[in-house]
Symmetry: C2
Subunit: 333 residues, 2 copies
């Protein structure tokens, strides 16, 4: 996240205080609120929002730009409270190289801190004062929660009889809205423009492309560059386009071993068996298939975005936005 | 909750749809969102808000009244999402006579449903369009989450070296703001009046009085009338004014048995020992002490509220609000 944006995020939260100024328990609570934001993050979503705002004519130093900055702070707060709750829901061990919040403080305190951070997100949206901004955030949370429900309910019920279309519906809901659709639309709104409907269509395709790229990197990325555990999705039993495609034609014995391992909790999975499944996936052609699908969605999304920005008030900034998006779709980490 | 208000709450949520119109998983998710609101609730907070709005001159049928109704719907949504998360945090078994949401669907899906319902609360606040309403809800959530953190962190760390003042600070944060302070203030705001500061002071005292009354009823109430398990607070290891007062002068052997039982998870507590502690508490005079404190807070709170409403635009409605508050402070269930 950009340091100026982090400053803005932290300015909304209760500040650190001298020991005698507050109860130690409350100082502890307020430190929990600052924890995830201070661990840093790539800030992809806020960067897209600000690039879209510039393309739509919001110039640094103007009230429109101030509005965009507060909305960007709101997106970062969204990301942080969602991650606190996601990490509990997925029982993740780490986040950004440190133990997940509930591993440090227990589930009850972490749920409560996520709820409080959720409210601070709305403070940022309110502060932005951008007409239509509130509605965008509401729609974003509703879609993201629906996608999260799909994903979690498949894990809960051990459902693997899913198609690529099921995966894409889940990913559009869970990832595409908050990662691309809403950042692009908020950029337009903060510059005073009603969002072109092609921004939404482009964002759905680009969001799916980004997530598939992430799934691919999770299997064959460079651990140091990627920043997460390679193969972690397999250990967590994530439904991905790669795995669902592979399951369609996998030999019966491979499929049986896969389903048997996936039915186990993470701690009980056999490391050798998972490594074997990992190799089968890499050899199967399903990674190539998924990457080809991601490339096609990225191409179509970029073409739509280019059309939507053809008359953009700031053509130079529009080109920069397109370059940023292109870079994300082909990233190595 | 008043049936008209429930209709308004449900109108904000995704409606039930014919089976073929949506994915079964999403229909399941949307049913989870409607579950707690449909179980009914006393609707104390929304009733206080509407009574305060009337006293401050908002008349049914006017835009001000519409604003008050949407804010009241927002308060009910607040109560419902908080209860979903509270029930996880306290590992409660039941809510309003049925299994808690996470007992029905597991913790991950229940956290996610609570988050979605939280966002729908903001849709109600936004729909109300009452200037200052958003700020009240933000402050309410921040204070409630701070109080919840105090309570949960004492449970987490097994802390019993607490005074009555600690308890009162926790209860003012955790209960008084959302139960009384904010409903009274929102009523004024929806009628277009800046809230009199005495509403806040009155609400803090009345909120503490209501919670202590609830703690007392939990120990000596009539189970059928009270609607919750008598002695449930002891089984959950809740810090109450009654218990903290008793601990100050309890005989060493009684105190030792108490602390030994409280250090155990609920399932491992000894029913006979807890029943014995329950009798000691009833015989100790600490229930009487707590009730006397509640009565004093209620008297002072009512006096402040009467002062604050002395010039209320609708004196008849102001008297009704005072009667409602008086009834709550002396309730038997």
């Amino acid at each position: 996240m950009h340091p100026d944006l982090l400053t803005r995020v932290l300015s909304l939260l209760p500040p650190p205080q001298p020991e005698e100024a507050t109860r130690p328990e409350l100082a502890h609570f307020h430190a929990m609120l600052r924890d995830y934001p201070q661990r840093g993050g790539k800030g992809i979503r806020s960067a897209l929002l600000l690039a879209s705002a510039r393309a739509h004519g919001a110039r640094p130093g103007t009230p429109a730009w101030e509005g965009a900055l507060w909305l960007a702070a709101g997106l970062e707060l969204f990301q942080n409270w969602v991650l606190i709750h996601d990490d509990i829901e997925d029982d993740s061990e780490e986040r950004r190289g440190q133990p997940a919040l509930h591993r440090l403080h227990g589930v009850p305190l972490a749920i409560n801190a996520g709820d409080a951070l959720h409210a601070y997100m709305w403070a940022a949206v309110h502060r932005a004062g951008v007409p239509g901004g509130m509605e965008e955030f509401l729609a974003m949370i509703h879609r993201t929660a629906e996608g999260q429900h799909l994903d979690l309910s498949w894990v809960e019920s051990g459902e693997w009889a899913l198609t690529g279309a099921d995966y894409l519906e889940m990913v559009r809901l869970k990832t595409a809205h908050y990662t691309v659709v809403v950042p692009l639309r908020l950029g337009a709104l903060s510059a005073g423009h009603p969002p072109d409907e092609r921004l939404t269509l482009a964002g759905l395709k680009l969001g799916a492309a980004f997530q598939i790229r992430d799934d691919v990197l999770n299997l064959l990325g460079d651990a140091a560059q990627y920043g997460k555990e390679i193969g972690g999705d397999l250990l967590e039993g994530k439904r991905t386009l790669i795995v669902l495609h592979w399951l369609e034609t996998a030999p019966a014995d491979q499929k049986a071993l896969f389903l048997e391992q996936m039915a186990r909790p993470r701690a009980d999975k056999d490391a050798d068996a998972v490594a074997q499944i990992h190799r089968w996936l890499l050899e199967s052609g399903s990674v190539t298939h998924a990457q080809a699908h991601a490339d096609a969605e990225a191409r179509e999304g970029l073409a739509l975005l280019e059309e939507a920005l053809a008359e953009a008030p700031d053509p130079q900034a529009a080109r920069e936005l397109l370059d940023t998006v292109r870079g994300l779709a082909t990233r190595e980490a």
